[in-house]
Subunit: 167 residues, 2 copies
Amino acid sequence: MTSPAVSVRTARPADVPEILAMIRELAEFERALDEVEATEEHLHRTLFADEPAVFGHVAVAADGHLAGLAVWFLNYSTWQGSHGLYLEDLYVRPAHRGQGVGRLLLQTLAAVCVERGYPRFEWWVLDWNESARRVYETVGAEALTEWVPYRVSGAALLRLARPDAPA
Amino acid sequence: MTSPAVSVRTARPADVPEILAMIRELAEFERALDEVEATEEHLHRTLFADEPAVFGHVAVAADGHLAGLAVWFLNYSTWQGSHGLYLEDLYVRPAHRGQGVGRLLLQTLAAVCVERGYPRFEWWVLDWNESARRVYETVGAEALTEWVPYRVSGAALLRLARPDAPA
């Protein structure tokens, strides 16, 4: 399951065009390409700020092209009184699938957790993405099916923020 | 639904003992009191660091005691190229329920989102917590039932981080 031809390293500013391309490829796969508003400038500002709050790792193929991407940040558990690692995006390009690239990215981030003492490594997956879910279960991740994510956005967020404003 | 006797403000260091008590009350309600490892010292270090990454808002009753708690941090959407607000814990003490305290905390955090330009306000809820889910739907939140949270922790996290280590 290892992928000797692919290595993982932290993202660099020169990776930004390919990172954005992969973010768009992933969104297309997740049937939400129209929701991508990120730009190269956003990514430069976010991943390479003086004290970044969002981090990227990339998988690099033997020919130097990027084979995969992990974008992550720190979350926090009040119960554990500790930060954890939240994986926002994990993506492996179609030509590199089935070679353990996703697992290599997950291993790298698990090692970041262990090194820094973060007790939890978490992410979300679309329920119909069965091939991803199989990989996650193989690496020892547990589906937290008892928890349901909620979101307020757009007009509903404005209404909630300003309950007394005229509609 | 408003609660004129209760006001919301950002947490202060003197609130820490009551904040920890509420974290424990919430964990007990969520049937996971044995998972609480946070201490007053953890909370002081986290919520009141020089540049905190985790934030607290409290609801204060007319008698000065704390009626409720919200603990939150920033998450990030690669699609939107933007931070959002993630609510880790929302709790209203039993004596103050049914008075709109939870809604007041949600309104306050929605206002933080709008003020800072965060397009998304998100959290998780236990699927069996129907009274909370009713409140969330009333305030315009949407259940993201297509997404499944995953977690690696404990021995599985160590194994994933060190795949070549002896078992």
